[in-house]
């Protein structure tokens, strides 16, 4: 009886949950109609998969001397007795016949290609930048975390200075510093040696990795300090040195406690990568902004942008949960 009562109670609030979500969407729909916004979801897919028309144009003047299909391609030769050129295009896309007279710039063949759209490209850049920043950030954070609890005052002060500097200033400012200050200096120095400049993407990765590294360091420190002293004493008493003790005894145990907060840090890093648009890295947010200015469909596109971030962060937290289960002691 009590169980039935409880489940009815439970079902009611479940329904309430879905009701509230539906209401929210409904209100948004109604309000957008009130301001006469026209939803055009059908315009969104083109920014994921773009169809592009490619024209193959003649660069010289002359007669089409040959149109030869070979496998999946067709080779079109244009020219006179003096010189000739051969162009290739997919079979069936040719627009000229043998004997036609061609001027420079005339289309010889026209075909469509499927390319990843701007949003997909942006998503890829976000993924790439975040992934690299996470890898470098973890390595940096691990060593800084170890330095932070080192007995060596130089290492410890260096770690503290780094952590406090990074955590005490806004990421946006750090990105500017990396790009406009350090980036300019480094690229000028490189130019003096005749080396081509480093692209802004790498300054973006550097700023994110160094930012994340400071937070990872604190997570690592807390994780290591949560492992009982006796573990270190036992391994050292067996003759293990510091590195062996860390690698075989302390870090494997700390890892399990470090994983959940680390996942949170990675998720913020993915979201923080949206700031990199300001230094001309066309990641997901900047790509969306560009698309919005051309399509004039901001409502759909910003929702799509948010959902794409959600897909990334949710997959990551699923992956970390899987790792957590795997590192659990049976």
């Amino acid at each position: 009886m009590i169980l039935q009562k409880r489940s009815a109670y439970y079902a009611f609030w479940q329904a309430a949950f879905f009701g509230i979500i539906a209401l929210g969407i409904g209100v948004l729909w109604w309000a957008s109609n009130e301001v006469e916004y026209v939803w055009r979801w059908y315009r969104v897919p083109q920014y994921f998969v773009a169809q592009m028309e490619i024209e193959v144009n003649a660069e010289i003047e002359g007669t089409v001397t040959a149109v030869e299909p070979k496998g999946e391609k067709v080779f079109i030769t244009v020219g006179d007795q003096v010189d000739s050129e051969t162009y290739s295009a997919p079979v069936g896309s040719e627009r000229v016949y043998e004997g036609d007279f061609i001027f420079p710039g005339d289309p010889l063949a026209v075909y469509e290609v499927t390319r990843p759209g701007i949003l997909l490209q942006g998503l890829w850049i976000t993924l790439k930048v975040s992934f690299m920043a996470i890898i470098f950030g973890v390595i940096l954070g691990l060593f800084t975390g170890l330095a932070r609890i080192s007995d060596n005052p130089c290492l410890r002060y260096l770690a503290i200075t780094y952590i406090e500097f990074i955590r005490g200033s806004p990421l946006l400012v750090q990105i500017y510093l990396w790009y406009f200050v350090f980036g300019t200096i480094i690229n000028n120095l490189l130019a003096k040696q005749g080396i081509p400049p480093i692209s802004s993407l790498w300054y973006g990765v550097a700023s994110l990795a160094i930012f994340a590294g400071a937070y990872v360091a604190e997570i690592v420190r807390a994780g290591i300090q949560s492992i009982h002293r006796g573990q270190t004493e036992a391994s050292r008493s067996l003759g293990m040195n510091y590195v062996q003790c860390m690698a075989h005894v302390v870090l494997p145990q700390a890892m399990r406690r470090i994983l959940p907060p680390l996942a949170g840090q990675f998720i913020s890093l993915i979201k923080d990568s949206s700031l990199l648009g300001i230094i001309a890295i066309r990641e997901l947010t900047k790509a969306t902004r560009e698309v919005v200015t051309t399509s004039l469909q901001p409502y759909e596109l910003w929702f799509v942008c948010a959902i794409l971030y959600l897909v990334l962060t949710f997959s990551l937290s699923m992956f970390v949960q899987y790792l957590e289960r795997r590192t659990q002691i049976s």
Binding site: H228, G230, Q231, E233, A234, S235, R236, S237, L238, G239, M240, N241, Q244, H248, V249, P252, Q253, I329, S330
Partner: protein, 244 residues
């Protein structure tokens, strides 16, 4: 085997604590020395100074098998590999199985082959009677079993000396016997042992010598007969009357 000369240990902090005051003693090879004394008497600190888990104050000397433990030139890891230690809280590695606990240091410190380390480990687990739990994790073992694994883990390094830091104090009473039994076997085999304990029965039966410490200093030392039958110092008499 162990030569301790004028060792002191001061813990810095809000309040300076003198845990050891000018301790001098020596322990022969094959000798079993039991250190007793009230809590806070410095007996654990004394033991931990021997393998430099605590660093004694400057001025004293500790020699183990002729090696100057406190010299900055000494590779302390080499010394520790020769000195086994068993802790009150067992300190087994919870993320490793029993057999892995016993093979780990053999592999990374002694650089033994996997098979050789395994064989050695199984042999020692047999000796302490836990061979059937070789693939269990420490958390699934009783306290007594864990402490016996800890003894096997220390023995796997073929130490010249074994240090026991109150090995039975964290155990339920019914498990104390099995751990003491393993220690007795070890003593009979001629292992050099320094044991900090409150087990007077063990001291009486197994010890070659008993050291009584109080306030960081050695008050009295002698054979168990002398110590339990005719203690000379009043402080020793008082302590014995309280615990016996």
């Amino acid at each position: 085997m162990i030569d301790v000369r004028n060792i002191s240990k001061t813990f810095e902090g809000a309040e300076e604590v003198k845990a050891l005051v000018d301790v001098t003693t020596s322990i022969e090879a094959g000798e079993v020395v039991v250190v007793i004394g009230p809590s806070g008497s410095g007996k654990s600190t004394f033991l931990r100074c021997l393998n430099k888990l605590e660093t004694a104050d400057e001025g004293g000397h500790i020699y183990i098998d002729g090696v100057d433990v406190l010299s900055p030139k000494t590779d302390i890891n080499k010394v520790r590999a020769e000195v086994g230690m068993v802790f009150q809280q067992f300190n087994l590695f919870p993320h490793k199985t029993v057999i892995q606990n016993v093979t780990l240091a053999q592999r990374v410190v002694r650089k033994r082959e996997k098979e050789a380390a395994r064989e050695k480990a199984m042999q020692l687990l047999h000796k302490v009677g836990i061979h059937d739990k070789a693939n269990a994790y420490p958390d699934n073992l009783s306290g007594g079993q864990q402490q016996r694994v800890a003894i096997a883990r220390a023995l796997a390094m073929d130490p010249k000396v074994m240090l026991f830091d109150e090995p039975t104090s964290a155990l339920d009473p019914e498990m104390i016997g099995e751990v003491l039994e393993a220690m007795k076997t070890l003593a009979k085999e001629g292992m050099t042992m320094v044991v900090v304990t409150h087990e007077m029965g063990f001291a009486r039966e197994v010890a070659d010598r008993v050291i009584f410490m109080d306030h960081g200093a050695i008050v009295e030392e002698g054979t168990p007969e002398h110590f339990f039958v005719n203690p000379t110092h009043d402080r020793t008499k008082l302590f014995l009357s309280q615990i016996l």
